[in-house]
Subunit: 217 residues, 2 copies
DNA sequence: TAGATTGTTAATCGATTAACAATC
DNA sequence: TAGATTGTTAATCGATTAACAATC
């Protein structure tokens, strides 16, 4: 029995992939056909060995000594890996201004994310639509996810509501959750929660400023 | 000469702080006065030693064996550390729907972030305002930042515009940048770039789905 | 007291970086 | 060929976790 031995891509490497993709696209627009790891490392301010390892993890693409890597092939491999070609369907819960921004952001289609329904508890919002996506009553979450075989749920509700919503999504068979609420969500082991904690990012900014400005005092 | 030897808080620990704060607030609402590290660890699905170390990094607060930590004191220390009490002023560049969501999100005020001006290149937007914040012409970035001593810049422009905007912010004396554009930004060493790369988050979701669903095949 | 919990030192783990032989 | 660049093995670094004595 042949195991699928494709090298596992680490979490950190996965985070870097979109930066490689973006940079490779720029190079492609400039009609540059090959690029070396040291060059990419310089452009993205990374270590060249790290770049080479990340590239190696993207299966098919192989580099040539002295020449480097084929830009187009590398780009294809990465886009394939990140699923930019096949679209995943998602629902979004909490139809506030953040949800609005996410739903109207055309870019996500390119990244293989397709939002097919939105949910809210606000009676005034239910029945309306944003960018062509219908807003439904929140009590229909589980049913709709199960019926439509939705695997991604996006949470943009207030913190105190997030766990309840999360449980409903999981009950509906969702396998991955993109959580914008600033709370820890408890989920079964096989479910991935990707936290987009803006409060945590602000903590970084604030801490840096304190250091930078405090140093003068 | 006495050095400031306050234990440095690691990047990872800083990321966890908002979760501690959120959890501590919930406990406080329940009139719970003390809490142990193992309890918090259980609630947030973390290791108890890690929780204790994180708490230790927050200076003043000390735990008592058998009792644990004082919720109110711990909360105060953390909010102080993250600058929730003193407000940092920021400008936002790119007045699209994401900027709109950020500007109308009242929560950021509580986190100590105050957006005082927005910039755009679109003549139709310039002169209007969002949530009471005036939208100004993008060529005024450096001047305004310098004049108002703004230290935080938020970038929500398209990828191809981000580096130019970043340079203008840095020229205006900004020390920390919150970057929502999916590109690497080159900045001098003393400037912090906090990337909020939604494409990278999507990469995580997509990869997890591939694993979870692919395993069946 | 006994035992839960703290704080700290030591061991482990994972990711990054350095060193180096292979190759075009 | 010489030298830039690749791919890989070994060393380093930082963060997490385990082990354990101190304490209320």
């Amino acid at each position: 029995m042949i195991e699928n031995v494709r090298q596992v891509v680490t979490t950190q490497a996965l985070y870097r992939m979109p930066y490689y993709i973006q940079q490779l696209r720029v190079l492609q627009e400039q009609r540059i056909e090959t690029v070396s790891a040291p060059k990419i490392a310089e452009l993205l301010n990374l270590n060249e060995v790290q770049v080479r390892k990340d590239f190696a993890a993207v299966y098919s693409a192989k580099g040539k000594p002295k020449t480097g890597f084929n830009v187009a092939e590398l780009l294809d491999s990465m886009e394939e890996l990140l699923g930019y070609n096949n679209s995943d369907e998602a629902v979004i819960v909490g139809a506030g201004s953040l949800a609005h921004a996410i739903m109207t952001h055309e870019g996500f289609q390119d990244y293989g994310l397709k939002i097919v329904a939105a949910f809210d508890t606000d009676a005034d919002r239910i029945g309306t639509d944003i960018n062509g996506i219908k807003i439904l009553a929140a009590d229909k979450i589980s049913n709709l996810c199960r019926r439509m075989k939705i695997h991604i749920g996006i949470i943009t509700v207030p913190a105190y509501r997030a766990q309840v919503v999360c449980d409903q999504l999981v009950a509906g068979g969702v396998l991955a959750i993109w959580n914008f609420a600033p709370v820890h969500l408890s989920v079964p082991d096989h479910i991935l929660v990707q936290n987009e904690n803006l409060a945590a990012s602000l903590a970084m900014l604030s801490n840096h400023l304190k250091q930078a400005l405090g140093a003068e005092a």
